[in-house]
Symmetry: C2
Subunit: 204 residues, 2 copies
């Protein structure tokens, strides 16, 4: 809590340097993408010495992971939505809302997500961060389906884990399409269509 006030001047300098670097790194990443971005560009923009970057971070990957933390936090929040529908209609509404919120992230955080997408393909560490988010969602959806099956709302013969993955995958791929700006339809239209098929396919 009050720890932050006991910071001495040189620790403060360290923190400021770190911040300068992170800010510069963000600009460079957004401008050039993960692959083309270099440490040299970042330290130049931040007005610090080359080696300094390696004092604070292990490399590009490490920097991006820190920069992505906000965004990842938001994804985790969306995954936490509670799900206790009483009827099929209610289930559909909750699912539609969650899918919409998820896809909206692509629009809100488009720029950083573009960098992130590229980084996922290159860096194992970053790929694992995204995998964790994915598994969190799938785990959650899986539980939701199991709940719906117990409540006799959803078809009991379907493997709920496989169904959950399949549903998340549709959402995820649309997310990346929107991130890449490759999609002309509105988020609402997309969410409506995929939710309609999924819920009619899964629910009784």
């Amino acid at each position: 809590m009050t720890d932050e006030k006991v910071i001495d001047k040189r620790h403060l300098r360290s923190i400021k340097t770190r911040e300068k670097l992170l800010e510069a790194a963000k600009e460079v990443f957004l401008e050039d993408g993960f692959h083309k971005a270099t440490i040299s560009q970042m330290i130049k923009k931040a007005n610090i010495g080359y080696g300094t970057a390696y004092v604070h971070f292990e490399g590009k990957e490490d920097i991006l992971i820190v920069l992505m933390e906000n965004v990842m936090e938001k994804f985790y929040e969306i995954a936490e939505v509670s799900f206790f529908p009483k009827t099929k209609k209610e289930a559909m509404e909750i699912i539609l809302e969650q899918a919409t919120a998820f896809l909206k992230m692509a629009e809100t955080e488009r720029n950083m997500m573009q960098v992130f997408e590229q980084a996922i393909g290159i860096s194992t560490a970053i790929s694992n961060k995204w995998k964790a988010i994915r598994e969190k969602f799938i785990q959650r959806i899986s539980e939701d389906i199991a709940y719906a099956q117990e409540s006799r709302l959803a078809r009991p013969e379907l493997n709920h884990k496989l169904a959950a993955r399949g549903w998340f995958f549709t959402n995820e791929m649309y997310l990346w399409e929107i991130v890449r700006n490759e999609h002309l339809d509105t988020v609402e239209e997309v969410a409506k269509t995929i939710t309609a098929i999924y819920t009619r396919g899964l629910y009784l």
Copy 2:
């Protein structure tokens, strides 16, 4: 046809060099993945001079694209399956078969697909190759849905293009999971589950 017989000796040498390089490149890619693989390793393995690689190809990307051509061809073949179902049941069968064939590719071509997946994240050229395959499938599925809607087999109120994308996305993501060996369920089980939800959701 008979063109190949009219090759003179030095053209033949050129072709053999190219082949040697491709073969070596494949080994290196499979061993180290796209990102870590270097031209130096390849020319060493192929016993040719460094510059020679750049005579035949523009770089790593270019080489991988050539190596992937077989595999890509197979995807295009799967996308071409004809679709004129008379009943819902018949539609389900065709769709199940196609999904299974698609996912089986992940197992059959796992090694090269692993390299390919990494390359998609790094190289624009390769990413575009995959996008072309994806759009081919989506285009085809889209037409199939439209046909089913006209035949009063599928629900007419759904946007067939959005539905097609969503369906393909589930398939594609499962494909990559299988490629990465991250999936324990059988291809058949996966195909059965996702097809069941999709067809029940889409068809009347």
